[in-house]
Amino acid sequence: MREFFQRAPIRRLLVILGVVLVVELITGPPGSNEHPVAGFTGSYHEAASYFGLFRTQRWVVFLTLALVAWGITEFWNWRGPTIRARASDALAGPRQVGEKRPVRVGFALVLLVLAILLPHIVNNAFWQSALVTYVAIYVLLAIGLNVVVGFAGLLDLGYVAFYAIGAYTTAWVTGALPTPPPFGHALDAFWAIPFAVVFVVIAGVLLGAPTLRLRGDYLAIVTLGFGEIITIFANNLYGITGGSTGTKQIPHPVFHVGPIKYTWGLAPVPYYYLALGSVVLFLIIFSLLQRSRVGRAWTAIREDEVAAESLGINPLKFKVMAFAVGAASAGFAGVITASADNFLFPSSFTLTFSINILVLVILGGMGSISGVVVGAVIIQVVQAYLNHTPPAGYQQPDLYIYVGALLITMMIFRPAGLIPSRQRRREITLYEKSHEGHPDEALLGDDV
C-alpha cells in the first residue's frame, strides 16, 4: 500500500487533487461567523453555468480539469522525451554565419492589413473601443517592457511609472493640470508625444543610472519602489498633478500641419489607428535594434555580465539604454490613453498594472517580439470578452486566478513562453541540462 502511494504518477495525482481542493476553496463562497466552514461545504454544492454551455456542480468541472491535467502530465512523461527529441531544434539551430533571418514581409503585411480592417470587421462599439483600451495599448506596453526584460534581462517591476509619466506629460502639455503648461500656452495632445517621449527617456536614464548597478532581485525591488514613488507623487503633489482626483480636461489630439488638419474625437476607431501606427513603429524599431550591435550587446550582458565586461561592453550604459528605449513605447501608450480617455487618476497606475504587463511578456515569450504581441493580444482579448459578457458567477478579479493558473501551467510545459525566441529557449534548455535532473524534482522531491 505504501509503495502504491510512493509511485510517481500516484503522487502527482495526489498533488493535482490537492491543488483542486485549494482552488475550490479559494473560488468558493466566503464563510461567516455562523457558518465558518461555508467556504468549504458551499464550494461543493453550488452549481454554476460554464461558458453558457452547460450547468453543473463546480467540483465536477474542477475534478475533470484535474484528471485531464494529470492525463496530460503522464502522457508527457511517457512520450515527452521522444517528442521533444524529434521536434526540438533547440540545440541544433543557432544563427548560421551570413544567414539572413527571413523577415516575413509578406506575412507581416497580411497581418497589418488585417489589423487595419479589424475595427470594421468587428463593427461593434464595445469591441472597437476595446481594441484600443484593452489591446493596442497593452501591446505597446508589452513590447516596450520586452526590451527591458526580454532583451537586456532586467526585471523591471515599476514599468507603469513610464506609462504614468507619459500620461501626465500629456495632461501637462495640454494645460489640463494645475501647473501651467510649458512656455505658458497649452499645446494639442498630439504634440504631447515628443514631450512624453523625451520625458520618459529622461526618466529612464534618471532611474536607470543609479539603480542598474544592482543585479537581479535588488533591481526588481528598486524599480518596484520607483513605480510606487511616481504614484505617490501623482497623489500628493496636489498643486502640480491635481492630486488623487487627477484631471478630467485633457483634450482630444489634433494633428495640424499646414493644410492638413485632423481631429480625434470621441469615436474609438481613429484612436485605434493612432495606437496601431505606434505599435507598428515600435515593432520596427525594436526588431531592428534586436538584430543590431546593440541587441547583441544586450544578449551578452544577459547571458554573462562578467564576460561581457571583459569584452569592453559597459553593462551600465547598455542597461540604461534598454531602460530608456523600452520606456519610450510606454510614453506613447500614456499619451494615447490620456488623450483618448480625457481623464487620468493616480489610482490607475498601480503595481498590479506593472505586473500585468510583465505577465503578458512572460506568457508571450520573453525576448520574442512576435510572441509578446500574440500573448498580449490573446490575454487582453479574453479579458475584454470576460468583462463584456461575463459568464455566470464571473467577477473581474477572478481573472487573476485564471491568469495565475495559466502562468503556472506555462512555466511547467512551455517555460520560454507561447512563441519563445530561439535563443531564450536554448538558454532554458541549457539551464535545465546543466542542472541534470528530472524536471519533476522541483515539485515532488528528489526520489521521483
Binding site: 543557432p94 546593440v294 547583441r296 571583459s310 569584452l311
Partner: protein
C-alpha cells in the same frame, strides 16, 4: 621604467576585510613576453588577474598598463570594460561563454565596437553600420580560422568540447584587438593532446599576432615549456621570479609546493 614594459605592478595590496589576498606584490611584464604566474591554490593568482583587469580594486599600490602608442593607463580605479577597451583581454578560469549563442556570434560580440551610443545608427543600418558589421564578420571568421574553430562556427557554444571552449575564449578575447591577453588556467579540464595544441596556439598568438601573454597555470609541464619567465605567488606575496630553469631549482619554491622539512628550515 622603460616603455618596453607592458605591465608595471608596484606594491599592490588587496584586502577583503581582514583577509589579505595580495600582499605588497610588485612585478612587471615586458612587451611580447610570455609570462606565467604560478603558485599553490589560494595564493592570489586569480586575485592578481582580477586586479589587472579592473574587476578588483586594490587598496594600495599602482598598476600601470603601457600601450604600444606610448600612452599609459593606471588600471586601479578603472572599470573592467574600460581596461578591456584599452587593450587588455582575458579568459576565465571557469569558462564563461555566451553558451546559447553560436561560436561565431560569441567571437563577433568581442569584435564589435561597443563605445558610443549609436542606437539610431545601429538600428538604421546606414552604410557605416553595414561596413562595420562586415568588418566584424571578417575579423571573426579570420580569428576562428586562426584558433582552428572555423568548422565549428555555426555550432552552439555550449556543445563545444572543453578544449574547443578554451580556444573559443581565446578567439573572443583576441577579437577585441588586445595588446595583452591574460589566460586564467587555459589548460584546466583539457586532455593531454588538447594541452599540446593549446600550448602551440598560445605561442602562435604571441608570434603571429604579436600579442603579449600573461598566464596562470597549474599544469607545470605546460608552464615550463611555454613561459619565458615566471613569478611564484604564495600567500599573496611574490616569493620568486626567474626563468623556468631557475624556478625549478629555487629552494623557496620547492618549499612552497612541497612543504617544509624541519631539518631544512633549522
Amino acid at each position: 621604467m622603460t616603455a618596453e614594459n607592458i605591465f608595471e605592478v608596484e606594491h599592490v595590496t588587496l584586502r577583503f576585510g581582514g583577509v589579505v589576498s595580495l600582499n605588497d606584490v610588485s612585478l612587471f611584464q615586458k612587451r611580447g613576453e610570455i609570462l606565467a604566474v604560478i603558485g599553490p591554490n589560494g595564493a592570489g593568482k586569480t586575485s592578481l588577474f582580477n586586479s589587472l583587469t579592473g574587476v578588483y580594486q586594490p587598496q594600495e599600490g599602482t598598476i600601470v598598463f603601457h600601450r604600444a602608442d606610448g600612452r599609459s593607463m593606471s588600471v586601479i580605479g578603472k572599470k573592467p570594460h574600460r581596461v578591456a577597451g584599452a587593450g587588455v583581454a582575458r579568459t576565465f578560469q571557469a569558462s564563461r561563454m555566451f553558451s546559447a549563442l553560436s561560436t561565431f556570434d560569441n567571437v563577433k560580440i568581442g569584435a564589435e565596437d561597443h563605445r558610443g551610443f549609436g542606437v539610431v545608427g545601429a538600428m538604421l543600418r546606414g552604410p557605416r553600420t553595414r561596413h562595420d558589421d562586415r568588418r566584424s564578420d571578417e575579423r571573426t571568421a579570420e580569428l576562428l580560422r586562426f584558433v582552428g574553430l572555423a568548422e565549428r562556427a555555426n555550432v552552439l557554444a555550449a556543445s563545444l568540447s572543453y578544449g574547443e571552449r578554451r580556444r573559443l575564449e581565446i578567439a573572443r578575447g583576441l577579437a577585441t584587438g588586445p595588446e595583452v591577453l591574460l589566460l586564467d588556467e587555459p589548460a584546466a579540464g583539457t586532455n593531454p593532446a588538447e594541452k599540446l595544441d593549446l600550448a602551440r596556439l598560445i605561442r602562435r598568438v604571441r608570434d603571429e599576432l604579436g600579442v603579449t601573454i600573461l598566464l596562470i597555470e597549474h599544469d607545470m609541464k605546460l608552464v615550463m615549456s611555454l613561459a619565458e619567465r615566471l613569478y611564484v605567488l604564495n600567500f599573496g606575496s611574490v616569493i620568486a621570479e626567474g626563468t623556468p630553469a631557475e624556478i625549478r631549482a629555487n629552494p623557496v619554491v620547492i618549499e612552497a609546493y612541497l612543504g617544509t622539512s624541519t631539518e631544512a628550515s633549522a
